[in-house]
Symmetry: C2
Subunit: 280 residues, 2 copies
Amino acid sequence: MRAFYYNPMTTQELVKQIHTKKSFLCIGLDVDLEKVPAHLLQEEDPIFAFNKAIIDATHHLAVAYKPNTAFYEAYGLEGWESLEKTIKYLNENYPEIYTIADAKRGDIGNTSTRYAKTFFSHLNFDSITVAPYMGEDSVVPFLEFENKQTILLALTSNRGAFDFQTQKVEGEEVYKKVIQTSQTWKNHHNLMYVVGATKAEYFKEIRNIAPKNFLLVPGVGAQGGSLKEVCKYGLNEDVGLLINSSRGIIYASAEANFAEAAALKAQELQTEMKEILDKI
Amino acid sequence: MRAFYYNPMTTQELVKQIHTKKSFLCIGLDVDLEKVPAHLLQEEDPIFAFNKAIIDATHHLAVAYKPNTAFYEAYGLEGWESLEKTIKYLNENYPEIYTIADAKRGDIGNTSTRYAKTFFSHLNFDSITVAPYMGEDSVVPFLEFENKQTILLALTSNRGAFDFQTQKVEGEEVYKKVIQTSQTWKNHHNLMYVVGATKAEYFKEIRNIAPKNFLLVPGVGAQGGSLKEVCKYGLNEDVGLLINSSRGIIYASAEANFAEAAALKAQELQTEMKEILDKI
């Protein structure tokens, strides 16, 4: 298999990018061939063609891109090839961009090491999302990679978050227990957390437990979360937030102008972000 | 991408196979190229060559095979191709074998649907392991596939299982809460659960909550679990157990005789299983 080697991107560099671009926007590259403009389907690799156009049109407005691996796996080998091309394109053309593999992996120790190597070493993503259910030895293999971040699912933005994550363990919600416990693990400075925007007041308590870690925030916009509310409670001295938007940006138009339409949507969010950053 | 269509395998057929073969053994196909016999590395696809030899030598002793996707993803596109070849080989040559994609996936609703289609429709696995942390709407898309099973992580066999899974929620451990809650979900008859063999007495209480579901049991042997103890508490009227062994079988020898050595190890377990089945 091919392996790509680039300089890793540290969180300090991410913070610098946020201040340079006045943006903490992450764009989710969740490509569904039923939703991309019809003319792209004639391309040799429509998924990559779509991503390339979106990235080229929005890279100055976003600091991070997050392909969700489910969308690529769904297209089999061709899908994995599109994912490889996308991360390579980002690393070669926009090395200042922070990259997130939204893979939600996690397995017993040795097996997690394999996932970590796949996404960090072979594909050269800066970070990966990981599920916490199997505990410390399923997450620590990811944390061992220096200058790579492990984004642990804490409080997700879907309805099912209330099935287990908000249940109380010894008087404390499971998601808080996950954040607290993980802060005691080796190399915990490499942790970030997924925290959905749907309940902004939760960010206050999360910041008490994890004042320094970056939070990756889905659910602003489409799922009803408010950017201002999230920032009110979630910002820290490093900004510390990556706000993700996927469908709201990449499917803004299904016409020939899809990339420009995506840029306009990204611009709207970036403008809001600039206003917030200018005030702190 | 290619799609394969075969008759789905129902759990009734699985039960029938167990009685026919006097075995409830599942063999984990976790292929590590550093551990396979050196002569296989000259093959065009060493991973598939290894799997094919193991399957041909053990198919009469096992009722199920379980490739862990981490091991295939680690080899990039070639690894995914080996996985496709392996499941196709099983479905074409041993349609009586039950197949498990050990993928530990799980995401928000629409995204889980994509994972379900990938593993159930395109790759045509009979079942997939799924992580419960994101709750109902992350699991139900898998359960919608009739005659396909969703194997929810409940109590895993690793040390980290004690970080969150055995914590108490309203007086009850998280893993029991996961089993109980999931029994109320739509199409819950399509559920199985992962329950590690490391604490056999746990099976008693689990059988109170989930008397009918199959349990996929890792951790017998290498990780210290006892087959007899697990069966004492875990068997139900349909047998209801799939005991997994991976490394203990497939890496029994790294020499030219690796497949025969694997068959001998599988035979040892099958003999123990036959004794147990003959008594009930």
